[in-house]
Symmetry: C2
Subunit: 207 residues, 2 copies
């Protein structure tokens, strides 16, 4: 029983390596087979096709991602503090796992088939978690209620994905955590520097 998964894991290991160096299109089954020291046919014993192998890659890593996030959030109180930690951890994880980032951000996330994969189910935990935090913040009275919570989540995930994607496309040259505070500040307070206190009052009533 562990033997079977061992070989499967061996192939995935090789696939991670090959797919993250080149991309999906430019990676070949024979490269992966060579690296895993199995015959090409063997791969098709464990995976339906090239795409299926590809989608199997981030399952485990994504589970780690969510599990560790939960750990990092332990003992933190207050929605804003949790969001700050979420932002930090999100960027930190991609900094530490760039090959995972390349596959997930540049290829999976943008694929229509992704929503049907196991990785997506794992990833959904993460996006569900941020939704919970948003609701918590609304109950605390620190997060605005006059905006759809899903749009609120899109603001947070949007900038994070954009920041990570840019970093990957630029070749991971700078430190991803560099602008952690600024991102946080923008999410919480927005770009506006209004002194319109009447306006402020109006938004509050908008809840």
């Amino acid at each position: 029983m562990p033997d079977k998964n061992l070989k499967k894991q061996l192939i995935i290991e090789a696939a991670i390596d090959v797919f993250s160096k080149n991309n999906f299109q430019n990676s070949t089954i024979s490269q992966i087979a060579q690296k895993a020291e199995v015959a090409e046919g063997t791969i098709y014993q464990y995976f339906k096709n090239k795409e299926d192998l590809f989608f199997s890659i981030p399952v485990e890593k994504t589970k780690d991602f969510c599990r560790e996030l939960e750990l990092h959030l332990q003992g933190i109180t207050g929605a804003f503090n949790k969001i700050r930690k979420f932002i930090w951890y999100y960027l930190y994880f991609f900094k530490m796992n760039p090959e995972y980032g390349r596959t997930l951000m540049l290829e999976m996330r943008v694929n229509k088939g992704f929503a049907k994969t196991k990785s997506y189910s794992s990833f959904k935990n993460l996006t569900d978690r941020i939704l919970e935090i948003i609701k918590e913040g609304q109950e605390e009275g620190v997060i605005r209620k006059d905006v759809n919570i899903f749009i609120t989540r899109q603001l947070i995930l949007g900038i994070l994905e954009h920041v990570v994607t840019r970093w990957l496309l630029k070749g991971e040259q700078y430190d991803l955590l560099e602008h952690c505070d600024e991102v946080n500040k923008l999410i919480i307070h927005g770009i506006g520097l209004t002194t319109d206190l009447n306006g402020l009052k109006r938004w509050r009533e908008g809840q």
Copy 2:
């Protein structure tokens, strides 16, 4: 002379159709050739290879995108008003051109080769434009100065790309313009509903 571009355009037309229905990987040259009613070899008269054809698709549309944006911004004063219009127009354009969106958002934007293409150069006008508006807002004193302008831009582009990408992945079922106001509100004011006026004061001084 116009004959030559006519055939090239014909091929692009067919490519738009095929590439946006399936994706890059699952579209074949022979499908495109059939649809354009030319021989497969003819395509290679006009384009170096499949990828070159792919990247040629959004050149013209992207130029339109930028040109029309400029038109829509005409006569609007004040950074916030311009941003509001930018957001509206951005969403409006993808609503009207979903096949363009599918190619640009789900395939191009996330491709390392994209930054070297003509489409990217056009697209850069758009992202440069939002940067100008941000600077203008800072001079007006309505946009915070204690955050890197590039990060500020990433907030705006991030949520817009995320909103459009989600819409595309969900099969374009709902109206993309539905949440225009909410997006705007979040960008300008953030998710926070703080009454901490001392904090507010501190941020202002942070400029």
